[in-house]
Each structure stands twice: as C-alpha cells, then as structure tokens.
Symmetry: C2
Subunit: 273 residues, 2 copies
C-alpha cells in the first residue's frame, strides 16, 4: 500500500510496508507504517499527470500475497445465476458476495447468504435483498443449516470461503449443480489449507466446479457497465462499504478482514476529496 | 453378484452375498459364496427368455455400494481431449483409463498415464499407445513426477484416483485446464476420505473440474458405437481384460481391485460360452 499526500509544494510519502512474509493470521505488527519526504514534482516539459489517491482497496486476497509461496493474485469478480434456481453465497456481505447475491436476485433466483454476525445477516435480508441469510458462527452443523435453508438442494454455490463450508455445500448440491470458486478466505491464514473431503460428490451429482479471475473477463466490462449503471441509478443494486479513515488504519483494516470485522467492502480513505 | 448355471433340467443358483456393510478395505470374508437349487423353468405359455450369464463385471465403484452410507452408483464413462493438448490419466490401465488414454491419442493429445506396477506401465506404453507412463508407487514425490512428465503443465486430467494424486495434479494444471472426475479409487476404503488441500488452484488457474456419470450420456451411445467400432476393427483401439474364472473367484477379484492386482478391466467368467 502506498499513498501520497501533497503538502504545499512538498510531497510527503506515506507507506505501509510488509516487514516479512506472514504465516498464520496476519498481525498489525507484520506491517510497518512509515513516512518519508519525496520530491514528486513533474518536470516542466512533462505530459505526465500526478494522481492523488483517495481510496485504497483492502481485500482478503492480499493475505495470499503476504505468504512466502507467492501465488497469483486476483480481484473481484461475479457470476450471476439463472432464472428460478437456488443460489447460496458465502461471505455474502463481503465485497464480492453482496453483489453476486443481488445479481442472482435480478436473475430471478432464490438466494441465501451466510455471514459472520447478526448485523451482517440483517443487512443481507433488509438492504441487500437476499431471501434468507444465516450466521455461520452460530451454526454447530453447517450441513444441517444448509439442509434447513435448501430442503431441495443448491443449484449454484458462489464460493468465497472454502474449507468446512465447501465440504458442507458439496453434501447439499443438486444434481448438475455448479460451483463458481471466487476465493477461500477461511484458508488463507493456514500454513496448510484444510482438506476438503466430500469431492466425490462432484461425481455423484455431476457437479461443475470452476475457478474464476476477473482478469479473464475485462473484455466484458463495458457490457457490464451498460447493464449495471441503470440498475444502480434505479436503486436496484446497492453497495455497502466499510470505510476506514487514513492510511494509518490500513493494517488494522486488513487484519480485520480475517475476523470479519468489516461490514461490506473494506475501503481505506487515504485523502479528502 | 448372482449367476445361474443350468445343470441338466435343474437350476443351481450360485450367489455371492454381502454379509454386512464394509468399513476400510474389503476382505473376502465380508462376502459369502452360496449355492442353492431353484426351479427356473419358464412357464410353457411364457414369451420370456432365460438368460445365461457368461461374464460379470467387477469394478471399484462396487466398493462404494458396500458402505453403510449408500451413495449413487455409476459405471464406466469417458471424455476425450482436444487436439494437441497434454492429458494425464490416473489408474490408466484400468477399465476406464485405458480407453480414455487411447481416445485422447486419437484426438492428437500428448498422453501420460500412471499405474501401480512396472507391468502396467509397460502395457500402457507398448500396447495402449500412451506417450509416457509412470509407476506412482515408485514415486516419493508425485508433484515432482508430474513436473518431470509435464514440464509445461497439464491441460486435461482424467481423474480416477483422488486424494494425494489430485492434490499433486492441481499443482501442475495449466491455466484454464480441465479435470474430468470419473472416480477416486484411493478413497473408497477410507472411513473418511483424505482431504484435498490444493483447491485454491481452481481459482489461480481458472480450472474447470466436473464429475461425470455415464447415465447422462446414454443418448450418445449409438453415436459412440458408430465412431468406435471401425477403430476397434482397425486395431486402433484395443482393450485389456483381466478375466477371473468362476463366480467363486468374484470376492478375490473385487478385493484385488484395491491393491491393483488386476491388469486391465476386471471381468469374472461365470460360465463357459
């Protein structure tokens, strides 16, 4: 993370640096907040533009890049469902989940989301239009919770968490169900990811499970905007953000993602508009 | 398993019965071989046909049906690759694997198979036309073995074994690779299946993983025969069978599947032709 604040003619450069590769849960002390003074004046004959950052995004995938085994990074994406199908979204009030759930509702699906607090569950049902939602932290048996919400099974699972939730979902998928794998936040802090044990359900139920990265879909971005902007203007798609103030709050905001402290998409406001 | 042997005018009915649900490796003693005498004469005005069984199939999936948790059963299927891609087939000399490998070769793919003995590895390379093959029991590091055989990665994996092999394959898949999941024989004897830990590779590499059951493709069977019969007549597709003699050998043949004793598709000859 880096942000520049222009202070008169001078430029002070604030930075959050990763001290060392992280194992397990990230701690604020894994990161270092520093300030240095830099001359960032554009040369007089330059056509360049000096950009003032207003917000930085803060997302679970960042944790992956903090591990020693550098893996490819990825960013938000989405995959709406089809008419009349049942859809389950995990981490449903998060940056991606809240949109996926609303897209699925627009497509006429029955949509249930899971999240980690009563506040988030309420948000899903009241503001984000989910048909149902539950707090996974209050469920001792995820399989039973899914059976309660999907007595006929799940057609589409939008996977954001992995681990035990994925195992429980595999037990509750319908035949020819589909699983879009966007992320597995429950696994990013583990030295070794938890094992997923129910994969034979892919065969029993002929399930398609497919990973996605938004990079592959940039060519559809214009089309996406055409579809989405009217929906946003009409208030049919809303977006909940959790804005932390100041780059100084960056480490705490990032760490908070893994205990689910954020409500909605975590953003860091690094400069006044 | 059941078979009827007509003995003069009388009918002796040989049967292999499952004594009780099985946990762990199946043992011959889990099954009971019995003979009883039955009158199976057709009524004089019947249009029925009395069928004499010659062979019984003996397949890993049967183990699944011997567990207390009855899961859907399934039978052989196939999924050929596309031109010029790299294909890995596990349990490659088995009932399904040997065909899948040959189909992939017909489609112009580079095909590597894994099996559990030198004899099978030789068979894959000499008789079944695989480009390469290796004995997974001799590999201490499956990831390294796959990297050796697929320095550029795997486009298509035909999954027959599950567990550690699947984990190693996920590490070696190419971007946008595809995994057809036919079975997971390494898991059927375990009380709890081994966990698969590398599933985030589905996201990193946007892999599609899909289970299949032949039931879904019966409507293509005529087309399949049209395509395949000429190939068989021309000797371009061959099939290796391991024929055990007599229904009495059924339990031993079934148990043998899980130590890989069979070479090729296990069949039990229950009556002379």
């Amino acid at each position: 993370m880096a942000a520049n604040v222009i202070d008169g003619g001078q430029v002070r450069n604030k930075q959050v640096l990763l001290k060392d590769f992280v194992t397990g849960f990230p701690k604020e002390s894994d990161m270092l907040f520093t300030t240095s003074s830099v001359n960032m004046k554009l040369p007089e004959d330059s056509n360049g533009v000096l950009v003032k950052n207003l917000y930085l995004s803060c997302d679970p995938y960042m944790r992956i890049r903090m591990s020693k085994l550098l893996r490819p990074s990825y960013i938000d994406s989405f995959q709406p469902g089809s008419k009349g199908e049942t859809v389950f979204v995990s981490a449903a009030s998060g940056a991606v989940g809240q949109l996926v759930g609303q897209f699925a509702k627009l497509m006429g699906c029955y949509v249930v989301g899971s999240a980690g607090s009563k506040e988030k569950v309420d948000l899903l049902k009241s503001k984000l239009g989910f048909d149902e939602a539950f707090n996974y932290k209050e469920e001792t048996d995820l399989d039973a919770a899914l059976k309660r919400h999907f007595p006929g099974g799940i057609d589409i699972y939008f996977e954001n968490v992995g681990g035990k939730m994925l195992d429980a979902v595999l037990l509750n998928m319908r035949i020819h169900g589909r699983i879009a794998v966007c992320g597995m936040i429950s696994q990013y802090n583990l030295e070794e990811p938890q094992g997923v044990h129910s994969l034979m359900n892919l065969v029993y139920k002929r399930i398609r499970m497919e990973g996605l990265l938004s990079f592959d879909y940039y060519h559809l971005y214009t089309k996406f905007l055409e579809m989405m902007i009217p929906q946003i203007k009409e208030g049919k798609i809303v977006y909940v953000e959790d804005i932390a103030q100041g780059l100084e709050s960056g480490p705490s905001a990032l760490v908070g993602l893994f205990s689910g402290r954020n409500v909605g998409k975590q953003v860091i406001a690094v400069a006044p508009q």
